[in-house]
């Protein structure tokens, strides 16, 4: 990969920026010949929520899985750096990574029904990280698991401790997943489409719960979402991803209220809102992984594309408080 | 979009890419195919390739080893072994394919009826099938031969009957799966007649995996047929049949081992070849052994 630096949030003037909790620099992930993630740059401060927004195939779930260390060589090749509290994750040994997972970094999966083990009770599954990382005794684990279930809004937690996942509704199962992810008070929470499988009234409850717990623990969170509006409601910052690259990144109100990158604009104009009168779909399709265009990956579909877009990948520019990767920002 | 495809969902255009290519890549399967091709040629051109009439007896020339006149020697009746071998190939392949074909048609018909009608009809038919499946195929074939009597034609019927069980059960399972697919209900909603649904929507989706199974059954059929003839309850002498030939040569093992040896070796090679091809087919169809194209 050439040294064209994509977005580098550290270059943006952020007043009083402390040591970021999570810092991703020029991170690329390759699967065989396909470059799935291309030069990703991110920084997350303690207590901040970041949304990774994009359509399917943008690489957002891949990034989340890479962050938690579920995508490692030899299945994939990693380049660049991912630092969590100063520790370089790409070089971490598996044994050390396991000490982080479920402990300092928690992950909420999209489909709770598939992610929960049907053979174990809910209480056992919540207690598992407590046993592994905190070494609590059995009685302590039960107490703590009960407290956790209560904190995620499961009624009658003591009774539910011995329930099996299939005995609970979808919303309840997702609450259990949240409890498991938060069991050891992680500093970083990764949530991959945590509410996509839920009904919309339950979705609002669960999102509110996650935000509430994250703030109570003073943790940071990275949400992987496809719903732009939900991202606006839930996240402090947003990074819009397209075809493995981050095209625009910044505070969520700014990015979504007045998007600068053509892709973000395109997304916004085809999202269905209450009372939308027209929708403008983005022409074309995401190119397949093994046939990515040179230069800007969005150029083939961009209304503003010129010759240079097909040749050189745009450098990140700071504009209006955010990072945009485009040659023709107006 | 990547959906998990199973065999029934694979259309013909994709056969080449998904099955023929991986199949061709398996060397052992190709060896098997080549050998089978050889046998087929021998069987088809037997009348031209044979040097003698396979049932012509010449007691003067009996029990002779390979010679210029008789390339593979003669048996106790003076019949030319080489010619009997060729016609034996013909018989083996014909009986093998015919019995499987008959069993297939009958089995599929029963499985289709059971799966589509459900209820008591299905229950009754499946219990009959369970009964058939309870017996090893050789025993079942022997029982049918006892009822029908000896002879080539009856061997075909007996084997076909023994194969009805497996085919019926397989078909019914596939039919049940297909029956519940949304496209069947969609066709009903459109107003397509029941007969058209069965013909156009059910059958094509049920038949392909069964055809693969049928191909693999041919080797079983040939082995069973030889077994029946060896035991004396298959074809009648002087029909040139490998099983029969092996049986006839038993008494002369020390004196003239080629009488049993030649057909025995020929049978073994054909069965190995069929199994190699069958394994290759099975691996080619198995999605877990395939690399995605």
């Amino acid at each position: 990969m050439d040294c064209a630096v994509a977005l580098n949030p550290l270059a943006a003037d952020m007043p009083g920026s402390q040591e970021p909790l999570l810092e991703v620099r020029d991170f690329s992930l390759r699967r065989g010949k396909a470059v799935v993630l291309d030069g990703v740059n991110l920084a997350l401060q303690p207590g901040e929520t970041l949304g990774l927004i994009g359509e399917s195939g943008a690489g957002k779930s891949t990034l989340a899985l890479a962050l938690i260390g579920l995508l490692r060589p030899p299945e994939v090749q990693l380049e660049g750096s991912m630092r969590f509290r100063g520790t370089e994750l790409t070089q971490l040994r598996e044994a050390d990574y396991r000490r982080l997972r479920g402990n300092k970094i928690g992950l909420i999966f999209q489909d709770a029904t598939a992610a929960l083990n049907p053979c174990f009770t809910v209480g056992e599954q919540i207690a598992e990280p407590l046993k592994r990382h905190l070494g609590l005794s059995k009685w302590n684990r039960r107490e703590q698991a009960t407290a956790l279930m209560h904190s995620v809004g499961i009624p009658e937690p003591r009774l539910r401790l011995d329930a099996y996942p299939h005995e609970l509704s979808g919303g309840m199962q997702q609450r259990v997943m949240i409890a498991i992810a938060l069991a050891c008070n992680p500093e970083l929470l990764l949530a991959d489409e945590p509410t996509s499988a839920l009904d919309v009234t339950i979705q609002a409850q669960i999102m509110e719960l996650i935000l509430d717990r994250v703030r109570a623990l003073n943790s940071s969170a990275v949400f992987v979402l496809h719903d732009l509006a939900l991202g606006a409601q839930v996240c402090d910052r947003i990074a819009v991803m397209y075809a493995g690259q981050i095209v625009e990144e910044g505070p969520s109100e700014r990015v979504l209220a007045s998007p600068l990158h053509p892709y973000t604009r395109g997304l916004k104009s085809c999202v269905v809102e209450l009372g939308s009168r027209t929708l403008e779909p983005i022409p074309g399709q995401v190119p397949p992984l093994n046939a990515m265009p040179a230069g800007c990956r969005f150029a083939p579909r961009c209304p503003k594309a010129k010759a240079i877009c097909g040749e050189q990948r745009p450098l990140a520019e700071t504009r209006d408080g955010r990072q945009v990767a485009c040659w023709f920002i107006d | 979009m990547s959906d998990a495809l199973n065999i029934t969902a694979t259309p013909d255009s994709q056969w080449k890419r998904r099955f023929m290519q991986p199949l061709l890549r398996q060397r052992s399967a190709m060896v098997g195919l080549a050998i089978i091709a050889l046998y087929v040629v021998a069987a088809v051109f037997a009348p031209w390739l044979a040097t003698h009439d396979p049932t012509a007896q010449d007691l003067m020339a009996s029990l002779q080893g390979p010679s210029a006149a008789h390339w593979l020697g003669t048996d106790s009746y003076g019949q030319d072994l080489y010619s009997r071998l060729l016609y034996g190939a013909q018989l083996a392949l014909i009986i093998g394919f015919a019995s499987v074909a008959l069993g297939l048609v009958a089995g599929v018909a029963i499985g289709l009826t059971a799966g589509l009608m459900g209820g008591r009809t299905e229950w009754v038919l499946m219990r009959i099938v369970d009964g058939l499946l309870a017996f090893p195929e050789l025993i079942l074939a022997m029982a049918f031969m006892a009822v029908l009597g000896l002879g080539t034609e009856n061997v075909v019927y007996a084997l076909a009957l023994s194969f009805v069980g497996p085919f019926a059960r397989m078909t019914r399972g596939d039919v049940l799966q297909v029956k519940n697919q949304p496209y069947i209900e969609a066709a009903q909603l459109m107003g397509v007649s029941t007969a058209a649904i069965i013909w156009r929507h059910v059958l094509p989706n049920v038949v392909s995996p069964i055809l693969v199974q049928a191909g693999m059954r041919v080797s079983i059929a040939i082995l069973l047929e030889s077994g029946l003839s060896f035991l004396g309850i298959g074809v009648v002498p002087p029909t040139p049949d490998w099983g029969l030939m092996i049986s006839e040569g038993r008494g002369f093992i020390t004196m003239a081992p080629w009488i049993s040896g030649v057909p025995g070796v020929a049978l073994a090679i054909l069965l190995v070849a069929l199994n190699l091809l069958g394994d290759g087919l099975r691996d080619a169809f198995d999605p877990t052994t395939q690399k995605d194209a």
């Binding site: 509110e208 719903d227 269905v272 939308s276 403008e280 | 959906d3 495809l5 694979t10 259309p11």
Partner: protein, 323 residues
């Protein structure tokens, strides 16, 4: 006023669940639909909106004749759907088309697209055999797909393409009513926008009556002029889309609106509690358990769908007064 194309009169659909115990004495009932009253005029575009357990899929199945009503009547025109003779059934199959949620599953995987599209044309003998390729190509063109897809099989098409083929197939028999079940769920936003635009254009230009099931109020408001909101088997509010979105009268509708993610509003969980199971519903209003405005009377009486004003119907004892 014209006669409505569909009328549902106090329709109910109950499933008997086998009770526990050896003798199955205590049979429990699942009331998927309860007291549904609906009238659909020619040219209407109606959205059936609801979450899990609302009964919207069951309602569509009853309207298609796939399942019988346990009580009440489903009328197509003037005739009871369950009493149609074979010829009328065939005409119904032609006039009413359904697009499945699982679009790919609703097509025979071993048939090429051209045959899939030709099937309804041939079935209803809409044109000569020789004219079929031209018609099929025209259909594909109408939904914005290239003619090259005709030779493909469903497994070779992307999610968005297959949804469009499903729409094309629904149009093939020149129906008067199209019913669609979540036809845009699970699609990327851009593809979703394309399909929605397509559906809207089709309805506009040909005046087809549309019944669209969705859980997404945004989609409902984009496509349809009327909305019926379902909760646990009953229509709790029904009326013109704009009116309902601006001034919802049922507390559940209001909660749905508040839960809908919007750029300009902060996150607000408007409802607490889980969606209850439709099995063994409690006495009184089915929404009382979660309703922020519930009062004593709500737990005693089960409100039926009644006229609120000229165009609106609400099933609530104490409808929301202001916006």
């Amino acid at each position: 006023m014209q006669e409505p194309i569909f009328s549902l009169l106090d329709v109910e659909r109950t499933y008997e669940l086998r009770g526990r115990g050896w003798f199955h004495r205590t049979a429990r009932q699942l009331k998927a639909l309860d007291g549904v009253r609906l009238e659909l005029q020619r040219g209407d575009t109606l959205a059936l909106v609801g979450e899990s357990g609302s009964g919207k899929s069951t309602l569509i199945r009853l309207m298609l004749g796939l399942e019988p009503a346990s009580d009440g009547r489903v009328l197509y025109g003037q005739r009871d759907l369950s009493q149609l003779d074979a010829e009328a059934r065939k005409r119904f199959a032609r006039e009413v088309a359904f697009i499945y949620q699982n679009a790919r599953g609703s097509m025979n995987p071993r048939m090429r697209i051209e045959d899939i599209l030709a099937e309804p044309i041939r079935l209803h003998r809409l044109c000569a055999e020789s004219a079929i390729p031209e018609r099929v190509a025209a259909l594909l063109d109408r939904v914005g797909l290239p003619a090259g897809l005709l030779q493909r099989f469903p497994s070779e098409l992307s999610g968005g393409q297959i949804r469009r083929v499903a729409i094309a197939r629904a149009l093939a028999a020149e129906p008067q009513v199209i019913m669609a079940d979540e036809s845009v769920a699970g699609l990327d936003v851009s593809v979703q926008a394309q399909v929605l635009n397509l559906l809207r254009d089709l309805c506009c230009e040909s005046g087809i009556t549309l019944v669209f099931i969705t859980h997404d109020l945004g989609v409902a408001s984009y496509l349809c002029e009327k909305i019926a909101v379902l909760y646990l088997g009953r229509i709790v509010e029904q009326g013109p889309t704009d009116a309902i979105l601006n001034t919802p009268r049922h507390p559940y509708t209001r909660a749905l609106l508040q839960a809908f993610p919007r750029f300009d509003m902060p996150l607000k969980a408007s409802l607490s509690g889980e969606i209850p199971s439709p099995v063994d519903l409690p006495k009184g209003c089915r929404f009382a358990g979660r309703c922020p405005e519930a009062q004593a009377a709500c737990r005693e009486t089960d409100p039926a769908l009644t006229m609120f004003d000229a165009e609106r119907q609400v099933a609530c004892l104490f409808p929301v007064a202001t916006a």
